[in-house]
């Protein structure tokens, strides 16, 4: 397959303006003749659905939760980046672009990232106009904080609930369009397949989660805004329902999947407490502004702490190793996530971890509290400290937090061109569901930015170009054979799952997949482990299809059945992630292959051979996927080894 990124010609800073001018427009009176399906109501989906409805398109919006307001974006804590330079500290669109490209370890497209940085400023304006209560200075101007991988203060925030407030803003815009009759909402509805006919996306097949009814929806274009697939690891900071199903089933219908192995492990999460653990909780990266990360200098001390014979506060200053400050004096505790995570893992691997399991390091606020007073720290992080205490029963004002890395975000996703269109014409992917802007590692506070950039400011232009090209008549009814066949296929899969009647609950199978992925395709990977993982996943797939146990009926609310569909897709995706990780014989960003590292343990890229997007093409059940390469061209930045020293 020939992958055309469709990046416009011209100087970097003019590309988006040129593209906007080149794209075809749908005349205002004709917009109501087009139907657009938006799957997902997170930041990407809600902003897209609202904006397209405002323009006059007829929108159908879908989510699996009971309300669009509960999409996983709601959980984002720390903030959203924008190149406003309100702090007069040297920020600019180019600097945000540059930081993002560098932070992504030079595995993202220059054109897309520059556009992202450009529209970032409009996002803040839009959200403020909606009534999003961002943090303010006493004079009434907007406040900022800094985040990892940046030396300027460009992150806007609403206490520790930035995602919530941004999503509620987008949700309110969406709700307004529901009231206007331009958006029809389908909640507790899961997309189970994409309908493709005549080489174009024609609509989707869904399951009503309350009644179990399988239904078809037809449209001129379909937007997948279905979030990331971090739950392939079972334990992650994602909400329990986050899944890859929509993207994966679209992949099997021809949408190529980009860089599936690029996953982000977040350094500051609350460590695992037991086998019953169902999810991991993130402690926002913003905490690293004031918290200092350390581990005991000696293994002996660490062991005593693990056994409960010694407390963190017992350790004298010179018995502590502030390892990030020591190794990266320029960025200190604010190094990018992949670097911070790997260093924490190394401490634990050396036997210097703390907590009962030895799988944790400290994040200490004692100095910040001494410097600024408890009040100031409380104002900045109060709700995060409370959250920590609720989960662990420990008070972080008195004793350092314990943290450990956890799966958090997936940079990989459906491959899209500059217009956010996948390789299936008429099918778009927005937000975390696409692969496009973060390369091999995402900087903090950039996912919210990307989701809203895609939904508010990119798709309203680009989807019009496609619609104007095909015309209003180019749509097929839900009783046409393409829809009927897809419905039957979906029904057959459900029947097949219900009839396995094995002995293992689906959740248990999901946990096993998670263990395999974390062990062999997590923070550090090597060829041998990946080969083994592949075998284990294939065996697990057999086990799933012969031994899964799902109680209840398919024609009613059935949460185990929902999970079964998702786990089946995660298993297949897991195998592709392993293939992708095996193929990429280099280390970059979140993808750390142990065979490829510098003498001091940093990721060793191979730009000569791997400066490309690995775009995988489905080849039918049981066949290896076909690797397509989109070569990345860098005209505006020089590829160097990332250094945060």
């Amino acid at each position: 397959m020939k992958l055309e990124s469709k990046i416009p010609e011209g100087p970097l800073a003019e590309k988006w303006a040129r593209q906007k001018f080149a794209l075809k427009l749908v005349n205002p009176a004709n917009k109501r003749k087009y139907d657009v399906i938006v799957v997902g109501t997170g930041l990407a989906g809600a902003s897209a659905a609202a904006s397209l409805a405002e323009l006059g398109y007829n929108v159908k919006a879908f989510c699996y939760q009971d309300s669009p307001r509960r999409a996983h974006s709601i959980a984002a804590q720390g903030g959203i980046n924008a190149a406003k330079n309100y702090q007069n500290d040297g920020d600019s669109v180019f600097r945000l672009f540059y930081d993002t490209i560098k932070g992504g370890d030079y595995r993202a497209r220059e054109g897309n990232v520059h556009r992202l940085a450009e529209v970032s400023v409009n996002i803040i304006d839009q959200c403020v106009a909606q009534g999003v209560p961002f943090a303010r200075e006493y004079g009434g101007t907007l406040a900022n904080r800094s985040f990892g991988g940046a030396q300027v203060s460009r992150t806007f925030y609403a206490r520790g609930q930035t995602g919530q407030q941004l999503l509620l803003g987008a949700y309110s815009a969406l709700s307004r369009q529901v009231a206007n009759g331009k958006v029809k909402l389908y909640t507790r509805t899961e997309m189970l397949d994409l309908v493709v006919e005549g080489g174009k996306a024609r609509g989707i097949v869904t399951r009503n989660l309350i009644t179990g009814k399988i239904e078809s929806h037809s449209a001129h274009a379909v937007l997948l805004c279905t979030g990331g697939y971090g739950n392939v690891f079972y334990l992650s900071t994602n909400a329990m329902g986050c899944n890859v199903t929509a993207a994966w089933r679209a992949h099997k219908k021809g949408a190529v999947f980009g860089n599936p192995c690029f996953t982000q492990i977040h350094p500051t999460c609350i460590p695992v407490s037991g086998h019953y653990q169902s999810k991991l909780t993130l402690m926002s990266e913003s905490l690293r502004n004031d918290g200092r990360v350390w581990a005991p200098k000696s293994k002996e001390d660490a062991q005593k702490i693990q056994k409960g014979q010694l407390k963190a506060t017992d350790l004298a200053e010179d018995a502590r190793d502030y390892f990030l400050e020591r190794r990266y004096p320029a960025f200190g505790n604010l190094v990018p996530r992949d670097v911070a995570s790997r260093n924490a893992k190394n401490m634990c691997d050396e036997g210097r971890g703390v907590s009962k399991t030895g799988l944790a390091v400290y994040l200490d606020f004692a100095d910040a509290i001494k410097r600024d007073g408890q009040k100031v720290i409380e104002a900045k992080y109060g709700n995060l400290f409370e959250m920590y205490e609720k989960i662990t029963g420990e008070n972080p004002y008195e004793t350092p937090m314990m943290i450990y890395p956890a799966v958090h975000y997936t940079m990989g996703g459906l491959w899209v061109d500059y217009n956010l269109m996948t390789t299936v014409p008429g099918l778009y992917a927005l937000g975390e569901a696409n692969f496009s802007d973060h390369g091999a590692n995402r900087l903090g506070a950039s996912a919210l930015m990307q989701g809203l950039a895609d939904g508010y400011f990119v798709i309203p232009y680009t989807v019009g170009d496609y619609l104007a090209t095909i015309g209003p008549a180019d749509k097929i009814p839900v009783d046409s054979p393409a829809f009927k066949e897809t419905e039957q296929k979906v029904q057959a899969q459900i029947n097949r799952m219900m009839s396995i009647k094995g002995t293992r609950p689906v959740d248990d199978l999901h946990k096993e997949l998670g263990h395999i992925m974390w062990e062999y395709c997590g923070m550090a990977r090597n060829a041998e482990g990946l080969q083994l993982a592949k075998q284990k996943i294939q065996a697990l797939k057999k086990e799933f299809w012969s031994n899964a146990k799902i109680m209840g009926d398919a024609e009613e609310m059935n949460q185990a059945l929902e999970q079964a569909g998702r786990v089946a897709d995660f298993i297949e995706l897991g195998e592709l992630m392993v293939d992708d990780a095996l193929n990429r014989n280099e280390s970059c960003g979140g993808h750390f292959r142990e065979e490829y590292q510098t003498p001091d343990g940093e990721a060793l890229r191979d730009d000569e051979h791997y400066a490309y997007v690995a775009a995988w093409e489905y080849q039918g059940e049981g066949n290896p996927e076909l690797l397509n390469k989109e070569m990345l061209e860098f005209e505006n930045v020089k590829l160097t080894q990332r250094s945060y020293k």
Binding site: R136, S175, R176, M240, K390, G393
Partner: protein
């Protein structure tokens, strides 16, 4: 620890439900309340029984999906926390815990502990927004908002739409939820242009959904996981009265 659960089981909206007893012998105090339900569901499935249906998603107190009525209190014994943030260390070995769904006419039970809260979405659709189209906003710093105002708006905006306030209220009133949104937008300059109709429309929708009247007992605010203050109800009443006096544009 050993725990006895009495859990509301109801097949669907149209059938009767009842409390069913379950015994759990191996509960760790570090488990979350929902993880205990995961363990219960695992054992039910293995035994060939239907697992308990319950709503949950983020499991960190922010999405507002989880909704259990535990020993007569929405979200259980902890204040300022959701069910998913509740840990078993809040209970004692040998405890019996009764778990029911939210009870309110406007929140019909879908199955077991899961209820339908679409009424909340319809109330927001009635006016819980600032009418501003994408692309038409001025520069963000052109609207100066004193920190105290921004903070007050944020306090109100922290509502997660869980419905505990309704479940806690003997009249099943939705006043706390509605007032939080009305108040957030009434405090901010961006919300001024529409503040009158907003209150009127949202209250009209609240009534139409079958929520009860507010008798200001304050139970809602006590049980609210985000500790939304009763002050917002007072502010909304002012907004609403002002609107009624000034306009005749919204009926009932």
């Amino acid at each position: 620890m050993k725990i006895t659960l009495k859990v509301w089981r109801q097949k669907n909206t149209n059938t009767e439900g009842k409390l069913v007893d379950y015994q759990l012998d191996n509960v760790s105090e570090d488990m979350s309340f929902l993880e205990m339900f995961d363990v219960l569901n695992d054992s039910l499935t293995r035994k060939g029984e239907d697992p308990v249906t319950f709503d949950h998603d983020c499991r960190e107190g922010i999405c507002g999906t989880c909704s259990m009525y535990i020993n007569g209190r929405p979200h259980g014994p902890q204040t300022g926390a959701t069910t998913c943030q509740l840990h078993m260390r809040s209970f004692n070995d040998g405890d019996t815990i009764v778990v029911e769904p939210w009870r309110a006419r406007a929140f019909p039970v879908i199955k077991d502990l899961m209820v339908d809260r679409l009424a909340f979405d319809r109330i927001i659709q009635a006016g819980g927004y600032v009418s501003v189209n994408t692309g038409s906003a001025p520069d963000a710093n052109e609207i100066l908002i004193p920190r105290s105002i921004a903070d007050e708006a944020m306090d109100a905006a922290a509502c997660i739409g869980c419905g505990a306030c309704v479940a806690a209220c003997k009249n099943a009133s939705a006043m706390l939820f509605v007032s939080a949104k009305v108040s957030q937008l009434a405090i901010l300059p961006q919300g001024q242009a529409e503040h009158r109709e907003r209150a009127e429309r949202m209250v009209a929708q609240m009534d139409a959904e079958g929520f009860g009247a507010c008798s200001f007992t304050g139970a809602c605010s006590v049980e609210c996981p985000k500790s939304i203050s009763l002050d917002h109800i007072a502010r909304m009443n002012r907004e609403y009265l002002g609107a009624k006096l000034a306009s005749d544009n919204v009926q009932g």
